[in-house]
Each structure stands twice: as C-alpha cells, then as structure tokens.
Amino acid sequence: MELSRRNFIKFVAGGAAGTALSPLPWKLTDDIAIWTQNWPWVPDPSTGEFTNVNSVCNLCPGGCGISVRKVDTRAVKIDGRTDYPVNPGGICPLGMGGLQLLYNKTIRYPGPMRRIGPKGKGEFVMITWDEALDILAKRISNLRKKGMPEAVAAVDGNQRMSTMSVMVERLLTSVGSPNYVTTPSIDDTYLISNLLLQGTDGPMSYDLENADYVLSFGCGLLEGWGAPGRVMNAWGLWHDSAGKTRAKIVQVESRASNTASKADRWVASRPGTDAALALGLAHVIIKNGLYNSRFINNFSFGFENWTSADGKDHVGFKSMVLDKYSPDQVAKITGLNPEDIVSLAKDFARAKAPIAIYGKGKDDLDGGVYECMAVHILNALVGNINKPGGVLINDPLPLSRLPEIKQDAIFKQGLGKPRIDQAGSLQYPFAGSLINNLTNKIIKSPKSPVDTILIFSANPVYTLPDGGAFKEALEKIPFVISFSPFRDETSYMADLVLPDHTYLEKMVDVVWPTGLQYPFYGLSKPVVEPLYNTRNSGDVIIELSKRIDSTVQSAFPWENFEGVLKARAKGLFKAGGLVTYDNMNPAWERKKYGNGSKHNYTSFEEMWTKIKAGGLWYQPVHGFDGWEGLFKTPDRKFEFFSKRVQLAVDEYAGKTTYKTALKNMGITVTGDQVCMPHYEAVSSDVNMSAYPLRMMPYEMINLASGWIPSPPFLYKTIFDNQLKGDLSFAAVNPKTATEYGLKQGDRVIIKSPAGEVEAGLSLSDGAMPGIVYLPLGFGHTAYDEFLRGKGVNPNEIIDAEKDPLSGHSVWWNTHVNLVRI
C-alpha cells in the first residue's frame, strides 16, 4: 500500500476517469470560451433605455440635422435626420465621428485651467471658475481703468451672425475695443462680392438643387463645401438612381479631387486663374450674343461703355472682356485650349438653369474678391439671378437686434481708435476683419499692441495659413485666454483656459448654412449632461461682464445665454416661418407664395418650444419675383462697374496718390478695370529659381481641417497616399518628379520662404505639373497620441500674399522647392 510510482499513476488514472465523468472539464471549457469574450479591454456597451435626441450639428457651418441615439445616459451613435430640410438623412464622416470629441477625455479640458509651464507645452493646473473669471475680469477692468480698452482683442471662429459671434463682438464693444477679429471664411468673400455687384447684404444663396448645369470654380462639392449634407444630397439629385443626368457638373480645379473625378467635365486650369477663365467665358457668351439682354439692358449698369456725370467716357464690361479676355488670351493664362473655353461657355449659356458657383475646397478659408465677382458675373450674364436653379437674393436672417450698448467715456475713447488689423480702413475698405494684419502688427511692433486676447471657437495657431506667424504673435501677447473645450494648439499657448462645452453638451444657434438658398435657423442643444466642469461660453461672457464693471454688465442684461438666443429669435417669430418639416415635400421645392406660407404656432413661446424640440426654423425658398427693386447698389442695378469700389479708391487716392492707393490695395491694373471684376496675377517677390514649384494644400471630406479636431475614427479612412505611418504624402505629377529626379515614395523636404516640412512623395497624374499638393488636417502638435505627430500641417509653410481689394490671405499659392532626403 505504499505510494509507489505505479500506484501514483493509477491514482492519476482514476482521477482522470473520475474527472471525465464529472461536469468539470465540460463546464470549464464552456466558461473559458465565455471568459475570453469578457477581457477588460473588450468594449462593454452600456445597457438601458434606447432614446433618440434630435439636435443640429455645429461642427461646421453646414447646419445638418442630427439624431443622437442614446442608451440610458450615454450617446452611442450619431445619424443624419431624415426630417430635416438641409441634409435629408445625410451626414458627413466628421459628424458621424462626433462622439469621440465628446467622450475622448484626453483631448478635453476637465475644467478651467491656469498655465504653469512655458507657453506651448500644455502644462496647466486646474482652478475654479470663480478664480478664473476673477483673474480675467480684473485684467480687462484694469485696462479699462488705464484707458486702454483697445488692448483687449478677440479672435472669433463662430459662424457669422450666430448669437455666439454677436456676444463676443458685443463683449469687445462694451469693453471699448474695436479689435474684434474673426477667423477667415468664404462667407466674407461672398459678402464683399455681393455688396459690390448687387449692393445686397444677405448671404450667398445658391439654388443648387434646381440647377441643370453647375459650373463650379474650385468648390469641393464632394469634399465638404458649403453645407456638406445638403450638397451631397443635391449631388444625388443631379444624378438620379436610373443613371440619368439631370444636371451637368463641371469642375474647374487644378487637381483631380473627388469632385473633379466624379464631375461630368473636369477643367484643369492653373490655380489662381479662375477670374480669367470666368471672364473668358463671358467673352464668348457676349460675342455670341448668348446673354440675357432683358436683364443686361434693364437691370445692370456698366455693361456698355458709358459716360459719367462729369462728362468722362468709361469703358464698359463688354468692351473690356472683348478686348482683354478672348479665348486665346485666356488660354495662355489658364493653360486650357481655346476651343474648350468656347465650348464651355456655349454649354453654360445654353443650359436652362445654369449656375456658376465659387469657392475654394471646403470654404474654411476666404477666397479672392475679384475672382468671386468674375464668377458671379456669369450668373448675371445668363440672367440666372432670382430664378429657380440660380443665385437667389435674400435678406439677412430676420433676427432681432440686441439693445444698444450704453456708452461711457472709456468706450468712446477705445472705439475711437483705429482697428489694429486695419479692416475697414482706406487701404482695406471692404474687409470686415483681417487676422493676418493683426498678426503682422503684433510681430512687428516692439511691444504687442494687444495686451489680452480672447479666443473663441477657434484654433488659429493650427488653422491659419500664415507659416506659424500667429503662434509667434501669441508668444508676444502678455495674456492669452482660450475658450476651447479641446486641448488644441492655440489653447496650449494660453495663460488661462475657460473651456466651453462640446457641441453635444450645449445650446447654441446655427444660422444660415453657407450657400443655402433659404433662410434657416437651427438650434443645437444638449444631448447629454456636461461631462466635465465646463461652461457654455455664452454664459461665461454674461458672468464675466458682471465682474468687469457695471457699464459692461449693462450690455448683458440677460440671465443666461438662452435668454440672448430667445431675444434674437423674437425677430424670427415676427417674420414667420416654419418650425416643422416633413421630408415628403423637400424644402427646395417649396415656394413662399405657394403651399408653405402657413406657420404652425401662435405665440413666440410656442415657436421657441418647437424649435427646442426639433431645432429648426426656416422659410420656404422665395418667390422668384423678378429683378425689379432687387439691387441696392448706388445705381439700384447689378453693377458690372462697381461704384463702391470707385468711391473707395478715389477716397484713398485723395489722401495719397492714385498710384500709391492702387499699389497698397494690391491692384495692378488701372482705369475703369479697377472697378470691374478682372484677373490679377498673384504677385510675389519670392526668388523663383530658389522656389520654382508651388504648394497647394487640399482638403478631404473624411478629415477635419478646421478648428475642430478629427475624431480618431477618421484616421482609419485615410489612404496610404495621404498619410502612411506618421508621414504625410504630397501628390506630385510624374513629370515634375522626373524633372527633379524623384520617384514614388521618396522622402522630401518641402521648403518655402516660411519654413519647411517633411513628406513622402506620391506620384499622381491627377496633380498638375509644377504643383505640390499637401493634405490639410494632419500635423497636430497638441491633443493626444491619436492626433499628435501624424503627418505635417501645410499651414506651417504657407507664405501668403494678399488678395487685391479685400486684403484676405492668398493661401493657395506658396512657392516651394523639393529636396530629397
């Protein structure tokens, strides 16, 4: 009975037999299989009630309706709303990935922060809201006491006319500072162009859905231009499911973008020559008598040669284009065939509802004013203004004006000073805001003229095409405050961060998406309770005003930000409009004088409750009631010759000389051409032999390139010829590569006068020879491991010139060289 080796084996054998006859092995096998499904890193969805909350996306000026699916209190999915006029059911990749902006805690600020490390390092310590607001209020109030209110500046990235932008501007005005600066947007270009040609101050309204010929000058229709949800939907309407083309799309762009590749015709003209091409088309249209003579003869000014009151003869638009923009002349500028220009012009003019639209990629940045005007002139020539499928003229959104601000001595003294960015000055009479001028002034002055800068909904350090100049300016500004909810590049430079909620946690209005043809007001509202100790910047401004002094406080008599939203929305109630929408009857088919004029509320409160529940107020497309009394220019006509430009140039010339005035405004032509849309070659004093190539940044629908960061999900959709590992890839034509002895996959340094970046080379026939195309949206230096250090940001090497007349940045024409490493 001893435990010999043999007995031990028997014991084990018995044990094995017994185990096999017990449930242990079978049960364990099953359990282990289940155990492997429940490792701690396997996502564990929450359980609870499923609900859907309707809101409006606020990540771009597109104003798409979104429906957020929630399980219990957690948001789990964002979809486009089918019961929404802007984006019937559609949504872009950024909108879909929005939950990561909310829940990715590594990119967010958990509460107010004070900087403890050096600027740019992102080292902060959390403080209370009380402390943060006191520090800021004291700073502003001291500047007011010292009689220097103009040393407070603000950079605002909120949508033009939105209540947040009105609040920020109001804060600056009530403090007594004229230095309210906005980040660039194509809306600025549209506004100036509309003002000069039409005298109107409403937004650009393109009736895309009803057009049958879309001539797009650089608009990234499939890259996120305008209101992406709406444009994608329109694209679907242009090509119906049966494959029948209802509208022809022509894309004018130097690169084979998605839009160019999928358009019916791709016109690859040289970048920056859009104005020449548009005027070349005008030449053919006029020469062949294809223009709308009723419109031209009765409702336009400056088409034919004319004589002014002082007896001077002036050249008309017709003579100018016939003289200077023949297909042969334009072919030389644009690099196109003269025959193509002729056929394009004839196709355009003979279409039933042709529309020429202007933009630059996503339209996150501004464009050229003369260019935009030249393109819009095409719509005028064919008389497609205020007609279905044309450009509509709308009044601005009928929002109520906020009460006048009480003026004290400091207020008058501060606002009496000129703007640091010179917008609205004699040199830049039409610009509302010129952030690049502000930057340069700060860099060039021995002491920054700005003491305290407030930055709202913007990440200018990353998004401005200025070769890193804004960052340099922030280094010099003594006190920088960021209101960003995200740990972005600009907030890293801040002394104080007062984080806003993200768009899924707050109520804010979304006004008139870029390019939409009918008045629209949406309300983005909280989908979840705020996750962190953040506050709606609108509420913060009200609270801040109370702490500055009683004068500033008196400009903000509201209890909270919703009070301001409501105060402005009263105007919508007076104007009437619809607050519900059924998708069986698309908005672009509704006419004001038809079926859609009845609204379904009786009191303001009822309207507001309905907007809050569904987030929408809109008016049907207007009644296309002719051209009578439409234009508000000095001549009450569509001005081919802009009298406003003439007045502005004359006024400036009166203070200096005519030559200097034009030179300072960046205009190279003289005489009557100055006041008409014309082509201006981008001037540059860069040594062309040192920088023989040009770099153009380009945008993608599946990557955010504005102040909102990309959700990491989006990086999964990037192709290897855009980003591979941590290397950005630049697209270059094989011909250009051969000239420089480069091949596919080579690593190169892209060098410009403003700096250099490293990239891989991707050869593509879709790239125009001589141009290096770099994707925008990469190269973050802040945020977290998913965004930081991935590729390069083209903005870092952009050496921007100034657009003539407007002073905006010409961001798409940087001279560069390629050096292999």
Binding site: A16, S22, P23
Partner: protein
C-alpha cells in the same frame, strides 16, 4: 532479489485502491467542490417581495388578464419596443413617492426610501438573467408575437417573497441561472437553463426553426 512477477501481484492488489480513490476524489471535486468554488454568492442590495407587489389589493392596477400583463406593469416595454428590464427607481416612485411616508410597515421599504428615493440613487440590482453582449434578444418578439409567458424563461419569480441569492460565475461573470443550477446541465423545466441550445430547442418545438440561424441572435 524479489521475483518480478510476485512484486507486481503485490502492488496490484493495493493499486486498485489508489485507482478507486483517485476516481472517487475526482468525482467529488467535479460534482461538489468545483461548483462551490466556481460560483460566488452575493445578496441583492435589498430584498424585494414580488408576491406582495402582485397583490391587486395593495397595488392599484396590477391585475391583468394574464400573468404576463401583471409582470409588464413594472417590467415594461419602452415606446420603441425595447424592454426596460428591471425597473428604475423612477418607476417605484410612481407609488413610493414620499420618502417620509412609507406605504407599508416593512423595514425593506424604509431602507428603500431612505437609501434610494431620498438620495435619488438607483438600486444596484444584480441581474439574474443577464445574457452576454454578443447575444441580441428581443423581449417584445417573444412576449407579444411569440405569446410566451414570462415563466417560460424566468420561472415562478413572481411568486417569491424573497429574492434568491445571486450566484455569479467567477470566470464568466454571468449569473448561475444562465448555465442552470444543475452543474451537469440537466433541466426539468424550461426556465432551468438559458443557454443557446435552450433557445434553439424552443424555436424548434414551436416551429420556428428559421430563428435558429446564427445571425438572428448574433448580429
């Protein structure tokens, strides 16, 4: 020197005892000790008396035409048809709305009012029938369309006065009721086990074999 044959004979006699003791010990471990070790025992945060709450004299409106309707009084469907599962405190306070004034005299109710209603906190119930995340299960399809009684899967839970002790599988984290209380997996009643084969068995019996396709539940 011992003869090899003798030696083997000698050990083989006692050897059977080793074989048997190994066998018996393994059976004891497998059938008795293993289940004891595998499952932890936890009590619910507080007791809930189902029987009491199903008394129409005590709960106004609880009487239904069927037993399922009675259950649905609290374990309701949401508007979109998804199942609410265990009710939230929000449902309880439809009756127990005043933390100061209990409706009955039981100490559990007082505990509930003080700890959860007054504090506005949810009760962290341990769920007996929680299925793995990889399984999609629709209550409304089974109860409304399939006309199954709640008992078919959940047994006579509605007739209990005390909540049973919650036994959690230490490896998988799921309740003992999924595999079934019988470690060998034997079952007498339909509600004794809630494994995939049990779903399939019922589908087949009711003539819905098409619902045994993988993707019906594993979306």
């Amino acid at each position: 020197m011992t003869h090899p044959a003798n030696s083997s004979k000698k050990t083989s006699k006692g050897g059977w005892i080793f074989l048997l003791s190994g066998f018996v010990l393994a059976l004891i471990v497998g059938w008795v000790i293993f289940p004891m070790v595998l499952y932890s025992k936890q009590s619910q945060p507080m007791n809930f008396n189902h029987l009491l709450h199903l008394d129409p004299e005590k709960v106004y409106g609880i009487e239904g035409d069927t037993r399922a309707e009675q259950c649905l009084y609290c374990h309701a469907f949401y508007e979109d048809g998804t199942f609410a599962g265990i009710p939230k405190v929000e449902k309880c306070i439809e009756c127990h709305d005043d933390p100061e004034n209990p409706l009955g005299e039981l100490p559990e109710e007082m505990e509930f009012l003080v700890k959860y209603v007054a504090e506005e906190k949810e009760i962290p119930w341990l769920v007996y029938s929680e299925q793995p995340d990889c399984v999609y299960f629709s209550h409304i399809a089974h109860v409304k369309m399939g006309k199954l009684d709640c008992q078919t899967c959940h047994g006579d839970h509605d007739k209990t006065e005390k909540l049973p002790v919650y036994q959690e599988n230490r490896l998988t984290g799921y309740s003992i009721l999924i595999w079934g209380k019988n470690i060998a997996g034997y079952k007498k009643n339909t509600w004794d086990r809630m494994k995939m084969d049990d779903c399939a068995e019922c589908h087949t019996k009711k003539g819905h074999e098409e619902n045994n396709a993988c993707f019906v539940c594993h979306k």
